[in-house]
């Protein structure tokens, strides 16, 4: 075995494990399985290796090797634009669009996860290298590397966990009424539906929710159009939307009550179950690009009371 194998190999293993722990192909099917997942695992191996070899390279006084980290950063920025491009390309094929903010969020997450993989590899290699130099036996320092590595993975997974709508708002079932052709939810007018047949479908099968922000931060975040688009997309994916391209009447639209900042949304689904809709809305992630925190400023706090 070569000289630094006991540093590099555990670092790569933990780095890849860290990437795997963040790679879940759930109901969103993004990254898509199997091709999308495999390309991300491969990239994970590359980034874990880059993190793992940095310390041994320095130990060998190969300072140029550190520039590889910069190269890696460049590479992962490309990952972000790649993801964005691919999602942008398939956007017109979605019945209910994800929206640019959601796409940006996904792309950002993929970039960040590669950095985390690299950092995990780096931390593990640092731990093993320095423990060994302090005279700790190889086996023991590798063990310590593994323990620290797992701690880092758990920490990173916690650190990147995103809030969901239920953290910033209450979601309640709401009622759909028609004032002439105007569809209203809890009194907030959403849109003008001309066709009587469509109105009937809304009255029979339509379900609606009201999203009530918990504080001013929630109001500002839910006001963001990208966040609302993400909620619409999520609800339509989870419940199955009853709509085709030639039926724009049934596009779910989340509108804001301008007086209170509450958001209301009506949707016609395959299974009209309002409890499921509430759950679907609650489980939508709060987009990083939509998040606003006016309460963190003095002016915002003062304006709120």
């Amino acid at each position: 075995m070569f000289e630094y194998a006991h540093i590099i190999i555990p670092s790569i293993i933990l780095g890849v494990f860290s990437r795997l722990s963040m790679l879940r192909s759930d109901y969103r099917q993004y990254p898509s399985y199997p091709q999308g997942v495999f390309s991300h695992i491969t990239l994970g191996i590359v980034s874990a290796s880059l993190g793992a070899v940095a310390v041994p390279a320095l130990a060998e006084k190969e300072f140029a090797a550190v520039t590889f980290l910069a190269l890696a950063a460049q590479q992962f920025r490309d990952v972000r634009s790649l993801e964005r491009q691919s999602l942008d390309n398939i956007e017109p094929t979605e019945l209910v669009a994800r929206g640019t903010a959601y796409i940006e969020d996904i792309a950002k997450a993929f970039e960040a996860r590669n950095y985390m993989t690299m950092l995990t590899g780096l931390v593990v290699s640092i731990v093993i290298y320095f423990l060994e130099r302090r005279g700790v036996s190889v086996n023991l320092s590798v063990l310590a590397g593994f323990i620290v590595g797992f701690a880092v993975i758990i920490y990173f997974n916690k650190a990147i966990r995103r809030e969901t709508v239920q953290d910033i708002a209450d979601v309640r079932p709401a009622t759909i009424t028609f004032e002439g052709p105007l569809l209203a939810i809890n009194g907030v007018v959403i849109m003008n539906i001309g066709l009587k047949a469509s109105r009937k479908i809304y009255q029979e099968n339509g379900i609606a929710v009201e999203i009530i922000p918990k504080n001013e931060n929630g109001i500002a975040t839910l006001g963001n159009l990208g966040q609302r688009q993400a909620i619409q997309h999520n609800a339509s994916i989870l419940l199955g939307i009853r709509k085709d391209v030639d039926e724009p009447d049934f596009t779910p639209i989340a509108r804001r009550d301008p007086h209170t900042g509450n958001v209301v949304m009506a949707i016609v689904t395959m299974e009209p179950d309002v409890e499921c809709l509430v759950q679907a809305v609650k489980s939508t992630i709060v987009l990083e690009s939509a998040k606003r925190k006016p309460l963190d400023s003095r002016v915002g706090r003062k304006a709120a009371d």
Partner: protein, 64 residues
């Protein structure tokens, strides 16, 4: 690239001749309420537009 008309009134369907006049948008006259619904539905399927009710006997079709 996909090029099309959006955010524009594509057609007006009305039973009230004297209320509507248009230079550019096509107007479809209907004899009664039922025919108005039918024409609107057919036009909206063709244009992929949405039907809106102006409550004065006229429907408009808008592509959003």
């Amino acid at each position: 690239m996909d090029i099309g008309i959006k955010e524009d009134i594509l057609a007006i369907i009305t039973t009230e001749k004297e209320l509507v006049s248009s230079g550019t948008t096509p107007i479809f006259y209907a004899r009664d309420e039922e025919e108005k619904e039918r024409i609107s539905l057919l036009l909206s399927k063709i244009t992929l537009g949405m039907i809106h009710d102006l409550e004065n006997g006229s429907y408009i079709i808008v592509r959003h």
